[in-house]
Amino acid sequence: MTTIEPRIVSAGTSEGAQELQPRSIVGHKELMRESGAVLRMSEADAAALADIASDPDEDQTMIINMGPQHPSTHGVLRLMLELQGETVLRCKPIIGYLHTGMEKTGESLTFMQGGTNVTRMDYLSPLNNELVFSMATEKLLGIDGDIPERAVWMRMLLSELNRMSSHLLFMATNGMDLGAVSMMLYGWREREQVLRFFQKVTGLRMNHNFIRPGGLAADLPAGWRDDVLHLLEEIPPRLEEYEVLMTGQPIWRERLQGVGVITQDEAVALAATGPILRSTGIAWDLRKDMPYLRYDDVEFDVVVGVHGDAYDRYAIRLQEIRESMHIVRQILDRMPAGNYRIQNKKVTPPPRGRIDESMEALIHHFKIFTEGFKVPEGEVYVAIESPRGEIGCYIASDGSSTPYRMHVRAPSFVNVQCLPHMMRGGLVADAVAVISSIDPVLGEVDR
């Protein structure tokens, strides 16, 4: 099998066919599709909007670049907007500026090492990436039923705290994008506290590789309970401050209400999940509808909006921080004692201490960490609720110790495709509000 060597290309920055073509070149049918006729408006409305004088020299519209290096595109998302004055007529997201070939790298890393690769996809909630990868591997191994109780509850605790830190960063960047620059300071002040707890538990502020197939890398440190309690007392009054600073302000409401509206059938047709789907009124939360871990034993509300606009998405995320804290409080009361990792010899390396004593433990440790454990042949798709929506992990394994195909269904990749439909007819300033309300993370969009 002759392998094709990649030829590194560094041509100019224009992406040719991927770009938004000017009105004069684009055919009528394509123009109708891009103007959202397929989903939103009746043919007549779209036709009315679409057939502005399209002779090339009398060009009324202007195509501008909200390009990869832009303060408010949350990373390297490039949007080509066609403007008529201040009104956005067409928009095309161009992605791939952070494509890291993670799925190709995933095929050469063993299941034990896979967590380090997956955790760098959605770098705002790394623990949820590791969780979905680990659950998929455990399902393939057939050990997803007998993960120790403490490991399951610890995973829930870390996943919910990660949801809080991700939504707190959304509060910070959403405020800054819309001009409330001081929101960046407050949002980060709270997020730092959650990151300090993560650093104490996992040793790192981000990219922890702490949730591994078979359980967790280590047990909770001593004194973790009062750290979490300190968090739970400290953050609620701060959220009241956010309410005063943002929710109560007429300017904030005027900037967000009625902006980036998406209807129910449009959200389902575009497979938007998470706060975007819930903002249209469909109460779909994987933690409630297809529960995993112990979410059916914990009591919390599904937060729903009814207008499907940017304001609803902001309010949903703010309320979800409170729901997560409510869940964390219940987890605190029910955290069982016991093992933090499955005692199945095949998956778990021996404890560090035993390696010095016994030869088999040393060989066992060496084999697991160099070769990795074999996973039976088969394919599985597991999906959990990340702060941005449904993150799914599809693994096809061929019986060896490295996944044959590891594909992660990234919620932001699909949510970014809703941008053109939300931005149609809005102002350029609203475009910033819409991008920020989708809260895309380009690491998982481009994988």
Partner: protein, 194 residues
């Protein structure tokens, strides 16, 4: 009158060191190092840590980097925070070219410095293939303390003129490698004098 020619192309910073211009040169270098603004070149996970460094807890406003300027016209330091993909390389070069002189580059994180754990077709294995890099900050992502240490090293180099000498000598970046500062450090980091 070589002095005028020097001023013409290099500005006051370029005047050869003599008694008359000594003090002005130091003034210029001091002002450049003490108020250098960063260009937001946040790509991936390191960008979140870069924002964390700008946030109140670690607060690089203390070091003169009060604000991250989005447009390259008003920025002095380009912090390449994150992995640079093949599609992003020409864009990075274009933004670097559009930055005003004098400009410096900090390569934040192992992905920017050497491709990091992604040794594959999609990632440029080290941003020094595209732009001359002055300071390499290790870590994945570097903790805010490490980034502040990198920024402070760069400021130190600007102030004592080391950077300009190294750049003139090699034609590329000053190529300074710093060690990682573990997070949550209470002992002050002493910058070894050069």
């Amino acid at each position: 009158m070589s002095v005028l020619r020097d001023i013409a192309d290099e500005g006051l910073g370029g005047m050869r060191h003599n008694f008359l211009t000594g003090r002005i040169e130091d003034l210029v270098k001091w002002s450049r190092s003490r108020s250098s603004w960063g260009a937001t070149f946040g790509l991936a996970c390191c960008a979140i840590e870069m924002m964390g460094t700008g946030a109140p807890h670690y607060d690089i406003a203390r070091f003169g980097m009060e604000v991250f300027r989005a447009s390259p016209r008003q920025a002095d330091i380009m912090i390449v925070a994150g992995r640079v993909s093949q599609k992003m390389a020409p864009v990075l070069r274009q933004v670097y070219d559009q930055m005003m002189e004098p400009k410096w580059v900090i390569s934040m994180g192992v992905c920017a410095s050497s491709g990091g754990m992604f040794n594959n077709y999609a990632i440029v294995q080290g941003v020094d293939q595209i732009v001359p890099v002055d300071v390499y900050a290790p870590g994945c992502p570097p903790t805010p303390e490490t980034l502040i240490h990198a920024i402070e090293t760069l400021h130190q180099l600007i102030e004592d003129g080391e950077i300009m000498r190294r750049r003139a000598a090699t034609g590329a970046g000053a190529d300074v490698h710093i060690q990682e500062v573990p997070a949550g450090l209470t002992v002050p980091v002493v910058l070894q004098g050069r």
